[in-house]
Symmetry: C2
Subunit: 203 residues, 2 copies
Amino acid sequence: MSTRASATAPRGTYHHGDLKAALVAEAIKLVRIEGPNHLSLREVAANCKVSPSAAYHYFPDKDSLVSAIGDYCFQELARIQEEAISKVVGNSAKAAKARLRESGRSYFQWAKKDPNLFRLMFGGFCSINKTDEADQDPAYLVLVRVLDDLLTHGVITKAARQNAELAAWPAVHGATTLIIEGHIPEEAYEAVLDTIEAALGIK
Amino acid sequence: MSTRASATAPRGTYHHGDLKAALVAEAIKLVRIEGPNHLSLREVAANCKVSPSAAYHYFPDKDSLVSAIGDYCFQELARIQEEAISKVVGNSAKAAKARLRESGRSYFQWAKKDPNLFRLMFGGFCSINKTDEADQDPAYLVLVRVLDDLLTHGVITKAARQNAELAAWPAVHGATTLIIEGHIPEEAYEAVLDTIEAALGIK
DNA sequence: CCATAATCTGAACACCATTCAGATTAAAGG
DNA sequence: CCTTTAATCTGAATGGTGTTCAGATTATGG
């Protein structure tokens, strides 16, 4: 999106340099602390040393800025997951199984680290573009790859591969949410991962 | 909490009658439409034909009113589930299995009917009182009963009964959220229920 | 019937999103 | 280099928000 200068550069000139990126970065910082509902566009602008109206040159309204945060977060979550599963090297069935577990763990760890960003992503704040099939949730594509890998290594059957995404993602996402919101204890998470493996017929 | 007159009674006298209940009822109505983040305390008060400051006699702040909505919703969800499983009569293994599925379906149907109330419940808006063990989420207790019933009828093993809640609730909750927010299609829900049965070793 | 406590109002303060006319500056063309 | 043009940001204004508090109104108990 933004190409020019540093997003956190101090304001010397009248023109900012890369205000759009700076606004998003500052908004993320604030949502992290105050939560998605208490985000103030004026505060974002002030912290960027810019008048409130300047933001409207890049975002038609506040919701649009929030959606930009959401877009960033979905990419970031996918990146984190990619990083986590790439740490489990090996072409074995055991490694493939470990990657499934790590993809689940990294999903939860991301949410635990920044609950407010997680709430923004899945709390109805940002409107995901579900129009196009191509620009699908990148984190979902990571999961697909992990599950394909399980089939390749014979860890799961072809029958289990059908709807395997539906055995993994809802459970992982639900457990994450319920822990974040204090409905089940964090210690329960590994047990949830066990139930996913059971649903897939692993072991 | 409130004991007196109808919550929706028109305003004839200076005193309202049961303002607290009226405020909660009106707030629910507005959250249903506008979503939890766009709730306005002033609008709630105005619709109750009362000055904004009147609300502060019953709620210390807006968040407290939102929490009251959450409390109501958790009770209501439990009631809906209770109603759903009570419709499946019979003391058989088949009936017990059907009740598990219906408890999952009713959870989703509740959320689908009022997504904004569901978002309020699990979006970090209301602070659940996790201090006491006694006043636990009533919907959770419904689930416990359904799972106990499965064990009694030999549908699941004693081993599967361990952590059975963790096989069911996260998957149901996660699937519900992901469908509501448009990440997976509604048609996938029954397949998710299948994976729960698989995780529990049913069939 | 009166005193007291409960309940609600009105006005105020500080903050918010959003709009728009106009000031400032960078970029492009001669 | 200088001027035109387009991009960018400001300042002020509008109408809405949560919250507080002194005071007006009404119900209740003695």
